[in-house]
């Protein structure tokens, strides 16, 4: 049903590649060759250990699939501009949060969180939003755009809204449904990350996203369960493999409703903070960062020692209700 899954999912965008001189001279030959060269070269720069995904590709909540999945859209050139076209459909589908809890999500393209839209500052963004989920919904983007693209107007069931605006400013942003009660529309899964890369790309890194969210499973306006990238405790049971001494770039978003704030903590390490991704230089180094709802940052770090290391909000009750996980640092082969 969805073509979105076939969209371009290059680990690096073309502009980054050009900057590093990886495809110099290849451009005119053809994009296929360029991409192959790009993949080969980039994998020698950024090491991502192989990942075993225990879930099927069609699972609505699939934290490992979401982790490093960036949707660059269908790229078109219109009037001399790069347009990135994204297609999303709102649906309803149940997910299994744990052995005893089934939860009906409202989701985009059959996944929670929704796709991570990614563009470079100055690109034109076009999001074709088709609501097939019964209630009225909308997509409200953070970032700068005109009022008619602000996504607070309800889009009725079985109708389409096309949001179009310039990608600005660079940083880590988000989008979410803005129909009241927003707590319910966000809590049921209508949200995702929206990354705008700076014109001068950031250095190569193993990039991943983490969205912390809550599940109010009994409609009591409190969260019973919490999750990172859709499922409670998933990364506790399936640690994320990362390479020793590899630069990791984490795009973190707190989208937990009802609880006003969480403090993201990484074990046995320090991370550099790029607040809202709005800078190219870090503003601080720490191992805890306090984030209100909808706050998001870029965190950069690398692990010196192989082994397993936890990450979680330091509101420990929230962590223990599903919002925690592990990195598994894979040692470099001895030279």
């Amino acid at each position: 049903m969805f073509n979105d899954k076939n969209l371009e999912k290059f680990p690096l965008n073309r502009r980054q590649a050009l900057k590093w001189g990886l495809v110099a001279g290849v451009g005119a030959v053809g994009s296929v060759l360029g991409v192959e060269a790009l993949n080969r070269r980039s994998s020698s720069q950024v090491i991502i250990p192989p990942v075993q995904n225990s879930l099927s590709n069609t699972a609505v909540a699939n934290p490992l699939a979401v982790l490093r999945d960036f949707d660059y859209g269908t790229v078109k050139q219109e009037n001399g501009r790069t347009v990135r076209e994204f297609r999303v459909e709102a649906h309803t589908s149940p997910i299994q949060l744990n052995r005893s809890t089934t939860f009906i999500t409202w989701n985009l393209n059959g996944r929670v969180p929704g796709p991570t839209f990614r563009a470079t500052e100055g690109d034109r963004i076009r999001v074709i939003f088709y609501n097939r989920a019964g209630h009225s919904h909308s997509l409200h983007f953070h970032g700068v755009h005109p009022p008619d693209m602000d996504g607070i107007k309800p889009v009725r069931n079985n109708t389409v809204m096309i949001y179009e605006f310039d990608a600005e400013p660079y940083g880590v942003h988000l989008y979410h449904c803005h129909i009241a009660p927003v707590t319910r529309h966000v809590g049921k899964g209508l949200y995702g990350m929206f990354i705008i890369d700076p014109p001068t790309p950031r250095p190569p890194a193993d990039e991943m996203i983490m969205i912390m969210a809550g599940y109010d499973t009994n409609e009591d306006q409190k969260n019973e369960l919490y999750a990172i990238n859709g499922l409670p405790d998933y990364y506790m049971n399936h640690p994320i493999p990362i390479q020793q001494n590899q630069l990791i770039r984490l795009y973190v978003l707190n989208l937990i409703e009802f609880d006003p704030v969480v403090t993201f903590h990484l074990h046995a390490n320090m991370f550099k903070v790029f607040r809202t991704g709005r800078t190219l230089e870090p503003s601080e180094e720490t191992d805890v960062i306090t984030m209100g709802t909808a706050e998001r940052h870029i965190l950069e770090f690398s692990f010196r020692y192989p082994g397993k290391f936890m990450f979680h909000p330091h509101q420990d009750a929230i962590a223990e209700a599903g919002c925690m996980g592990l990195f598994e640092v894979v040692g470099n082969a001895k030279a």
Partner: protein, 338 residues
């Protein structure tokens, strides 16, 4: 004829010339911008400049609007096909998605758009009526829950008209000189949120909210409100939404989301009320369609035996979808005949 053909050739030659000059001006800036993309760009630019006549938004038009395209091309069930292949990022996707052929598209391309358009005539009235009908459905199920002394369950249904619909109908209310009624709805929601302790106050608030919606509906001409074709289009809108909401209520073969179950109940309740108003006329003018709609509606309605959900769903969501489709097909026979 030959003059037009000449103009056609001239235009295509011209656009070809523009194309060539464009591609000359942008020497391989990006290798990923082949000529094919520039040509869609050129043709869509031409489409935009060709105005005149009101266009049909293929992303949002109701079936009866799309029927104009179906009639123009003489392709049976084209309206349903256009609806089923949504969404469209541009009008050319009608061809790309194999909804129509290129020659067919050339015949209708001046009639279609994906841009927000000001609805006019009957389509505008159906749109307005459907939104108010959804509000009414919400309020009707809220009333049932208030009568059952369940203000906590009634509250979301008093909220939905404001949260999901009001902003979408506000301009039309102004235009039709209907007094705004957002404030009384919010006041009622506040009262119910606070536990609906003052029964008299809730009763008055509810009555005036319902009256406001009725007044808004009464702004439509009476002939239209009594026309089977018009009412059936509204019923389709209600049932379509009820269908989606019911699907969103069920997980693991149980009704796990009470709010969506109740939403869908409200919409079907009001759809029944609307149909009662035209059923005598239907029986007389369209006996076959009437029989099918009446029987299917009766079975469909049994899906919601009570305002609070039954222990096990009476119908599966697939069964509900099927019944809604059956009713839609019958109503189409009537709306096309009229």
């Amino acid at each position: 004829m030959s003059i037009f053909r000449f103009i056609g050739y001239f235009c295509s030659a011209l656009s070809l010339a523009i194309l060539i000059s464009c591609s000359n001006q942008t020497p391989n800036a990006t290798t990923s911008a082949p000529a094919a993309q520039s040509s869609t760009q050129a043709s869509s630019a031409m489409n935009h400049s060709m105005s005149g006549g009101r266009k049909i938004n293929i992303n949002s038009a109701i079936l009866s609007e799309l029927d104009k395209l179906e009639a123009k091309l003489g392709v049976p069930a084209l309206s349903n096909k256009i609806q089923a292949s949504r969404p469209y990022g541009n009008v050319e996707e009608l061809v790309a998605k194999n909804v129509v052929t290129q020659p067919q598209f050339d015949q209708i391309k001046d009639m279609v758009t994906i841009e927000d358009i000001q609805l006019e005539g009957e389509a505008k009235d159906v749109d307005y009526m459907t939104k108010l009908a959804l509000m009414k459905g919400h309020l009707m199920v809220a009333k049932e829950l208030l009568d059952l002394q369940k203000p906590d369950q009634a509250e979301p249904h008093i909220g939905h008209p404001v949260e999901e619909i009001y902003a979408d109908v506000e301009d039309q209310l102004n235009e039709r000189k209907v007094q705004a009624f957002k404030e009384p709805l919010i006041a009622l929601q506040d009262e119910v949120k606070a536990g609906a302790k003052d029964a008299a106050k809730v009763g008055t608030g509810f009555k005036s909210s319902m009256q406001s919606v009725d007044t808004a509906i009464a702004a439509l001409p009476e002939t239209q409100r009594n026309s089977p074709s018009f009412v059936l289009k509204t019923i389709n809108g209600l049932l379509d939404t009820a269908n989606s909401e019911y699907g969103a209520a069920i997980a693991d073969g149980k009704i796990s989301q009470l709010i969506e179950y109740q939403d869908s109940r409200g919409f079907v309740t009001y759809a029944n009320e609307l149909y009662d108003g035209i059923s005598a006329q239907m029986a007389k003018e369209y006996p076959d369609a009437h029989k099918e709609i009446e029987t299917t509606m009766a079975t469909l309605t049994k899906t919601w035996p009570t305002p609070t959900a039954p222990a096990a769903p009476v119908s599966t969501s697939d069964e509900v979808s099927k019944m809604v489709k059956t009713i839609e097909a019958s109503t189409q026979k009537v709306t096309k005949a009229s």
